[in-house]
Amino acid sequence: MTGNLRLGFHAPPSSGEIADLLAEAAHAKIPVEVRGRGSKHEVGRLVQTGSVVSTERLSGISLYEPTELVLSAAAGTPLAEIEGLLAERGQQLAFEPVDLGPVLGSPPGQASIGGVFATNLAGSRRILAGAARDHLLGVHCVNGWGESFKSGGRVMKNVTGYDLCKAVAGSWGTLAVMTEVTMKVLPQPAETRTLLCFGLPDPTAVEAMCLCLGTPFEVSGTLHVQAPLAARLSHPGIAGAGAAVTAIRVESFPSSVRYRIGRLKDRLAAYSLSLELDTDQSRVFWEEIRTLRMFAGSDRPLWRISTAPSRAAKLVAIIARTLDVRAVYDWSGGLIWLDTTLTSDAGAVEIRRAIAEFGGHATLIRAERATRASLDVFQPLDLALASLTAKLKAAFDPAGILNPGRMYPGI
């Protein structure tokens, strides 16, 4: 089999065969690229391997108990299949996974569930519902020795042993290959409404969004889209406004939504509210945000920046002094999606300098391969964290065969 492993694309049909393949790779010290269904394949540093190990043939939902809010699926199961089944029972993945497909040039809905957790990319509802990793209850994995192991389980509360689910979530396939994931699911709200303000300057929008999150009304989306990007959304009232749009989402049962929207309108009276989206319109709007429609069909470098909301507008303003950028503020400004003009370093110097001043971290989500090959795609770590990162990598994958260099050099 070694001859096969050296080059090519491998999609074993069982977790046992993935373990065999990785054991062989470990033995021969042959690095492999770890992939789900490949929808985020073009994110990260370039991985120098001749072989790909994919989980795309590990597919299928093995457990779904709506009354226990739990679902298990093989890691290669399409996210779309899981969301379809959940919707039939009025449930959902509350963390609203971001779909990077469209900004990377592929259709939406192609992601695998394993890839969703491996990249820990939560969407707008993260402010209320938590990140992807907060919903991962259990994993079956294969480590860099080719050994199968599990962590967590299928119950909502579990502190038995270390929480290796957290280690694996967000590790971009560099610690282990997930073969099965068990997740917490939640009811879909019966009704959704979205309040819209137009033309707010960024700092004012952040102020309004923070005001909303500081209420007891369980606001589940606070978003501000700068004018040129708002023009790319489909709702005619938004696209045609020629102004930035700020959106506040409330989800609950109908009378509760009416009450909460009313109270929020009172609070936001000073911010020129002008449009309200009903449940169906809201669904379309937030789906476009989740698939980053504003940034699709472009090759401008795209950054994902995490920072404190109170510093978000200043951070963007500083970057905008030297770069031509367009920004979307999600999570009240805690998450900034920002695209820049095509330059050799995708604006990395200016962006990293601003991050160093304001705190937070930035990841380059979309850029030419040559650009990604020549700079830090993920936020560089300080010495103490880098040392711990290397030790953790060695505890899972001592030979460094799993996605070597995808996140950091030598990891």
């Binding site: 119950v155 509360k157 042993g161 957290k166 500081g214 971290h361």
Partner: protein
């Protein structure tokens, strides 16, 4: 000592005790150092009082720098360290060892900042859980995880055990409510993880350290997420003739798309003890009682309680009572929160913490009853039904060593049952020393080996909180 044994102490370390105490005194002159017999006795156990062990010495630093100096010294001299918050662990997580020093951080209690805009609080980790909410309440916020011991337990201990509480059905447990940690590793290195923003960069060390039972490092500071307090909250009581009906009702509530703040369960013995103690107005003629609490505005609460009443009616409840006043609500929660204390007044008890899939609840309760009966114990059940986290209390006489050993055997069988039904050994208390030897019931050798490799990555000499979490035999091999 009954069933569980502690590793043989290192004679060379014991022989160096006076020197170690002298060195520590020199190293951190401002930190209280407890070396006398009486003083150390205060620290010989935690809330798993069946086990006791006098530590070498106890040191109580008040800064990250002092913690770092102490750990570096212990690392260089191969001295074991048992970190300690308030000592409320129910699984022996803070049990000392004879050849270990206890590093207590209960003096590190300052609130370093409340940030209303970014909705977080930065605190020293020795602060008690309730004090965080007390500090945040001034601004209308609260810190969500609320373990029963919240008056006494420290945030550091909550982080070590990934503690939950009655309201984690809606708000999550400790790991879901942390933004940043300052951690001192065993070699004295100080590591900052995360910040006042969501999702720390790189590997999720925040999530990995949370629940690591003090074996990866000593957390000295943390930034926690704050939530705005709901406008109001109100519980209702639903009593049933059988635990089967109560379990089915819980499933019915969740199937209807309602996630209450809390769904608590008590069986008949627990109801009677709590009612005697707190006068909460619990119905005494039922076999199972649910406390279901919802939050929102008065109107929202009314509607939710009406919906819950409709759902409950389908499961033939014996009584339904909605709280009509703040006093009534307080009394209902007083009974539940005082449950363990109240139970302690009538008998010694051994508190289990297994978790089961909710659909197996009736079977689990039936078999737990049978197991306890076979060991000739009475059992009372009080637990978080929304997430299947059981707390069977095995009533026994702690002064009878034979009974203690029998209670442990009985408890072990209950936990094995939880695993058999698809659940786990512990939902919120941790493994500690108590469930160490049961880990093989839930995990394969490969599962445990992977966990132990992670431990070794943080603490290659296994000096931090040793003899816990993993079966001793496996640990020695490691």
């Amino acid at each position: 000592m009954s069933l569980l044994t502690l590793p043989k102490p290192d004679e060379a370390i014991l022989a160096r005790r006076d020197e170690i105490v002298r060195q520590l005194k020199k190293l951190v002159p401002d930190a209280p150092l407890i070396a006398d017999q009486e003083g150390r006795r205060t620290y010989e156990t935690d809330a798993l009082t069946a086990y006791r062990c006098m530590p070498l010495a106890v040191v109580l630093p008040s800064s990250t720098e002092e913690v770092s100096k102490i750990l570096r010294y212990c690392h260089d001299n191969k001295i074991k360290v048992v970190p300690r918050g308030a000592g409320t662990s129910l699984c022996g997580g803070a049990l000392p060892l004879e050849d270990a020093i206890v590093l207590g951080i209960s003096r590190m209690t300052r609130v370093l900042g409340i940030d209303e805009t970014n909705r977080c609080a930065r605190v020293e980790a020795g602060i008690t859980n309730i004090s965080i909410t007390a500090a945040a309440a001034v601004h209308g916020f609260f810190y969500a995880p609320d373990p029963s011991s919240q008056l006494a337990c420290t945030l550091a201990g909550n982080i070590a055990m990934n503690s939950g509480g009655a309201h984690c059905l809606k708000y999550g447990v400790t790991t879901n409510n942390l933004l940043a940690l300052r951690v001192v590793l065993m070699n004295g290195d100080i590591v900052d993880i995360g910040g006042d923003y969501l999702d720390a960069p790189g590997y999720d060390f925040l999530g990995l350290i949370t629940g690591s039972e003090g074996q990866f490092g000593v957390v000295t500071e943390a930034t926690v997420r704050l939530l705005k307090s709901p406008e109001g909250a109100r519980p209702m009581l639903i009593g049933f003739d059988s635990s089967e009906a109560a379990g089915a009702c819980v499933a019915g509530i969740i199937a209807a798309g309602i996630i209450p703040m809390a769904i608590e369960f008590m069986d008949r013995p627990a109801i009677h003890v709590c009612e005697n103690f707190a006068g909460a107005g619990y119905p005494l003629d039922v076999e199972a009682l649910l406390i279901v609490e919802v939050a929102g505005s008065d109107d929202e609460i009314e509607i939710l309680l009406e919906n819950l009443t409709d759902i409950a009616e389908r499961y033939s409840p014996r009584t339904i009572r909605v709280s009509r006043s703040a006093e009534e609500s307080a009394a209902i929660w007083k009974g539940r929160k005082a449950a363990f204390g109240a139970m302690g007044q009538i008998s010694d008890y051994y508190c289990m913490d297994g978790v089961i899939p909710l659909s197996r609840l009736p079977e689990a309760l039936h078999r737990i009853g049978a197991i306890c009966k076979s060991y000739r114990f009475r059992v009372a059940n009080i637990f978080h039904a929304g997430d299947g986290n059981l707390h069977p209390l095995i009533l026994y006489n702690a002064n009878d060593r034979a009974e203690l050993e029998r209670a442990e055997l009985c408890g072990a069988e209950i936990l094995k049952l939880c695993v058999e039904l698809g659940g786990c050994l512990t939902g919120e208390h941790g493994v500690g020393i108590e469930k160490r030897e049961l880990m093989r019931v839930q995990f394969s050798a490969a599962d445990l080996a992977q966990q132990m490799r992670v431990k070794t990555a943080f603490d290659p000499d296994w000096l931090l909180n040793p003899a816990k979490v993993f079966p001793l035999e496996g640990r020695e091999r490691q």
